[in-house]
Symmetry: C2
Subunit: 243 residues, 2 copies
DNA sequence: GAAGCTGATATTGTCGGACAATCAGCAATT
DNA sequence: AATTGCTGATTGTCCGACAATATCAGCTTC
């Protein structure tokens, strides 16, 4: 008789509603692009108040499962976009006191392998996007914010070229965390821009020729270069990243 | 005068409130473990209705920034836990039609390097946890659900031993996605359990001795083994993972 | 027939108030 | 000292309301 009872957990209604909706979406009963029923309709169907439904909707919205296209009233079911998910991952990492060194180490581990996979599996569309990102960087060399954005784009295109959604999603938060400081680095290190241009050229060349080894090694160099850039710029790698 | 106006976006109040709260938390004005003011207090401070505050709170809750400790009424500020964040990442991946092959490929890329980092940086606590996970697996060999859970734990401990939060968070969703099917595999493949035990022993040995090379290669073998297990069990690797 | 305008309708965002359930802390009781 | 009962604070949920505006059908115009 010494057996303790399991703690009985009663979930609030808004959580149940959210769970029910999520279940429907992941089971593909709602397809991406479909419009959700109106709040009042949902409230009626679930037999709860509209306020309760609204609280549930906030949850789905935060999870990236619902979006409203620019200034529109209707809510659309959608597949969570990489940048949205990565956003909350980034925030989590910041709150876990992640440092530049942590991020850099992870990138030096992952990126070469991602580049290798991209070289093996890229298709023509990937190549076009890659070249476009590359050209955009050169074109906006002067505008720091913009060219940093194109560096991020370049990495994103490479990950996408691997045709493995896991790699895309794993990489995105790293880029997000690095982006702000990357601007500072580029501004302080004279040759940074030209070195990036050179690395991108080698990389896209290797990927175009499906040369996995070259892609890997050039990416490894590229990442090492970033670290040197940070050191030259006098950015402490052990410092915790802020938002 | 040709400059087009930027689309003016008017954010709803619940989003502004959420943003304000998130800003406070990431800026460490609220520390982990602090409890949030009551909903009515927040409503007064922000000058909005309590319903609006509640919608904002749902967002923070979903992001893992707020938790309620078991059946307690008070909301606690907290650092997003890995499993919570990984949950939404997993869901996102599922909705992006991720296959077992995608997950396996990512693990075969990441895990050996993670094991290598763990071997280099593990401390005594990590070792103890590793051994504990290892023993738990052996102890519950019969209970499939439980021993799968301990496989996940083993991987988690290795990632933690790298002392790089990025690696911990990058790995978690992969394990989560694999966990259910891993049970099916283990049940169908006779020697699966013993092979896992052997691999875990080699791995923790390598990590104990800080032998990075061994850790890497044994992990690589371990991961390859998983794939063979899936194939033997007749699980189609190209199939999309469901929740 | 296509394109543009118009007004009715539906939907969202926000508010105020209300009430039951229950959790925390304190007083009373044994 | 430990247990029980009480009280106030807090959450979960509901109802009803209203302004702003997105949507859509119908009408007008070319």
């Amino acid at each position: 008789m010494n057996q303790p009872f399991e703690p009985i957990r009663l979930e609030p209604a808004y959580r149940k509603v959210a769970a029910a909706l999520i279940e429907r979406i992941t089971a593909r009963s709602f397809n991406s692009g479909d419009r959700l029923p109106s709040e009042t309709a949902l409230a009626q169907q679930f037999g709860v108040n509209r306020s309760t439904v609204r609280e549930a909707l906030r949850e789905l919205q935060t999870a990236g499962l619902l979006t409203r296209s620019r200034g529109s009233k209707l809510m659309m079911v959608t597949r969570p976009q990489a940048d949205h998910v990565a956003n909350s991952v980034s925030r989590a990492l910041v709150l876990h006191d992640v440092t530049f060194l942590h991020v850099w180490e992870s990138m030096s581990m992952f990126e070469p392998l991602i580049a290798e996979a991209a070289a093996k599996r890229r298709n023509d569309t990937d190549l076009a996007l890659l070249q476009q990102a590359q050209e955009s960087f050169v074109l906006h060399k002067e505008d720091t914010a913009r060219c940093v954005h194109h560096v991020a784009e370049f990495f994103g295109v490479i990950a996408a070229a691997s045709h493995n959604p896991v790699l895309v999603l794993a990489q995105e938060p790293l880029i997000q965390l690095l982006e702000p400081s990357l601007g500072a680095m580029i501004d302080r290190v004279a040759q940074a821009r030209s070195r990036i241009v050179a690395a991108q050229r080698r990389l896209s060349e290797a990927i175009r020729e499906r040369n996995a080894d070259d892609a890997r090694t050039w990416m490894a160099k590229h990442i090492r270069d970033f670290r040197r850039g940070y050191e030259v710029a006098g950015i402490d790698l052990e410092v915790k990243i802020k938002v």
